[in-house]
Subunit: 521 residues, 2 copies
Amino acid sequence: MSNKPLTECKGWKDLENHHKKMENVYMRDMFTKNPARAKHFSLKLDGLFLDYSKHIITEETMEKLLCLANDCDIEKKRDEMLSGAHVNTSENQPALHTALRGFVDKDLNIDNENILDFVNKTLKHIEKLSNDIRSNENFTDIVNIGIGGSYLGPHSVCEALKDYAGNQNIHFVSNIDGSHITQTLKSLKPKSTLFIVSSKSFTTLETMANAKIAKDWIGSINENNHFIAITANESAAREFGIKDSYILPMRNWIGGRYSLWSAIGLPIAIYTGFDVFKDLLAGARNMDKHFQETPLDKNMPVIMAMLGIWYRNFWNYNTHAISPYAQNLHKFPAYVQQLDMESNGKNIDKKGHEISYNTSPVVFGETGTNAQHAFFQMLHQGSDIIPVDFIAFINANHTLNTHHTQLLSNALAQSQALMNGSTVKNEMHRKFKGNRPSSTILLNKLDAYNLGMLLALYEHKIFVQGCIWNINSFDQWGVELGKELAKNITNIIENNETIQETDSSTQNLIHHIQAYKNKNS
Amino acid sequence: MSNKPLTECKGWKDLENHHKKMENVYMRDMFTKNPARAKHFSLKLDGLFLDYSKHIITEETMEKLLCLANDCDIEKKRDEMLSGAHVNTSENQPALHTALRGFVDKDLNIDNENILDFVNKTLKHIEKLSNDIRSNENFTDIVNIGIGGSYLGPHSVCEALKDYAGNQNIHFVSNIDGSHITQTLKSLKPKSTLFIVSSKSFTTLETMANAKIAKDWIGSINENNHFIAITANESAAREFGIKDSYILPMRNWIGGRYSLWSAIGLPIAIYTGFDVFKDLLAGARNMDKHFQETPLDKNMPVIMAMLGIWYRNFWNYNTHAISPYAQNLHKFPAYVQQLDMESNGKNIDKKGHEISYNTSPVVFGETGTNAQHAFFQMLHQGSDIIPVDFIAFINANHTLNTHHTQLLSNALAQSQALMNGSTVKNEMHRKFKGNRPSSTILLNKLDAYNLGMLLALYEHKIFVQGCIWNINSFDQWGVELGKELAKNITNIIENNETIQETDSSTQNLIHHIQAYKNKNS
């Protein structure tokens, strides 16, 4: 890309002009005119089928969007990321979650360590530990203690792959709210419980506070068989009392929200078995390969990314809904929400300049058909247009076939209704304006391989958008300030201090808390 | 209000002009200038404290917002709703969820039925049934089958009041995805399981399909002791095989998303005990009273509603985040999301005219501190401003005091960070612009009474916004079209028919499903 600001480059200007022409174009008319529209705007990769024909696009739109992608050097930036360049500029690190799937040059070294060796060694460690734990009949319950990426990734995948679970129960404790660990331990017994403590730094406030409670709860019954650590700070894990063979490594080039593919995925391997975990990696690797090898105009993550850019930057749509028609994917929208909003919720570009265009939308969602009975009213008749990703699985993992046909039909019907709209004479409250865009992602079935493809699809989509916006998708400085301020406030509340130097709102809230506590203590 | 369109009325125009003056005003400067700001912009109602000083408002702003509220006849409309007027115009019904809390004129009759009598009789029925079930040691597990309001309300409240749970487990099955009922029944035994089937019409697709599976699963073991129905269609429940004493009534004037206060709340009464359920109602009733009796400038739901209007319609903010610092409130954001987006996600006014202004924002959220490690990056440094409601509880329901102080400190610190911002010299990626608004709702503890107040606070807030926007907050026609289309698609897939008459995208997706099914069957 030239040194011009993004909004000044030709591809951007072209799209601005093109948008004006598209403002009154109706999808339903385009479908009528061109019966081949759906075939033209769909892609297939093994068990994953993407229909993106229900978007306010023409061939010209896609050409212009891909021009912009080219202007922004997407292929070059993709190859840089995949080859281990320091794409995380503010922290001077590569972002090599793809390497964790085995998608890496065998000669790549970082800090004098061969990456493929590290990945394979870690996988062997995961294999051994997960097999040992799964076959250890003493353990009925596994409790993962971690927050952020050390929680959302493993948790959402374990829920998604519930149909492949073994005999052990799995629990996730993340929150510093003491009720989370208290409620979780209530029904468990120390001798049959194994804890996994996941924290790259082994200093994360929430994780270490909860790990300490767990350690006290386990008490003296040979605690070092009840704790596994996943961390880049092995000495701190040892100090905590965890034996070497129970410490799995992290590396700085693995970002939290991209870490489920690393040792952080151990709970998945324990819950579903190592072979299932490997399938997950293989599915993701397949999408990595597609992302790397496919021309941009047939490249799923690129297409999805550029559709997002189209709506976010040219139509000024601010939100994006994700609705998986699979109850087991109930945590998936929250996972993608983190992936997207933490990666691209930024207003400073890679050169340190404030930017003038919109970046990450608000991503939210819920499983269908539940969501139809909740917020879908707004998708159909609200004042805002909210592009939707529908995700559905052709085959069920159960035998209730009529249920499943109805589930699938509802997914298809919603996207049809949003696109087509409908009017009822003299009943304005039943008017659906239609022309509301959605993608439909159909997968053959909900298994680890397909889930791996799906997760990597979103990872790469979000990466491409970060490239267009010229931001660093791999840092998260926005979470730091609150953490710092929280430490001060904790000291003030704990010591019952008077606070003066801050704003009167914070003062007043602290005072209200102190007064109530003093009255009731 | 005059017959002028909303955007033409004086109050609206005033706010448009006032907004221009406020665009470059910083909250941190206002806090510096006026040490009494926090005291001025906060309200208290028993155990609920609302701080709304961290908003981009002056006294003048609030005056103008309340003028608009007056222009829109908020007090009159409120009194109409509370007194049973047909505020749900498209369905010609009142909306009397407040009556379910006992907040109703004792002489009010609807369809020849005295409302207070109905409410009291139903409460007695809930009391008897919940006591019977709770003391029936045969039942270890309760499964609620219902979707939308018959699911989200009871589910989110049961989760919120987990600390008050009895000995029986509770499960919620909502989705037509067959894995939902399949996975739920997997670990249960017919003889120790009680089902509650909640559907106003007793025809809801998802609910009846799942109830049928449950009935088959229970089999011949005296099924009529294993099923409770909550419905306005008592004959259908009888036909299903449910005995009269196990059928609890619904009425048409109870909207789904406002129904947890009715017999739909039975799972709450069973899970936590009838006294706890009564506390929930009492808390809500207290907020009803506050809403009815308090002048607008001290009226919490009105203040919160008008702040929402301020951002949605004058600053053009499109989203609203809710972050309860309580793990047990993990379903609360989804509950408010439905309440808001289904009530006010509309673009037709009460007179049937299309409207030109924005209505319901996208509401989303997650518990703190989890959310801090997920999407809060975007709240602090994203391109969009997202107003936040922080909700926290001063006292914990557990004994981990340090955990709890840290939890509270984080809630306060986040709102402080959002408001103040921060800069670090030469490190642009660490710049927080600040001036990002939030409210903080502090409650003394997480109990049923306070939860009741909180839920009613949001109900009334959303009602007030619907009044400003002149929309009917109590219908949901937007969900109908998709349902209709789904029936057609189900027929086509089930009969393996060829489809011609619809758009090629839907055709293509159906074809893809059929081809895969045929190949694999």
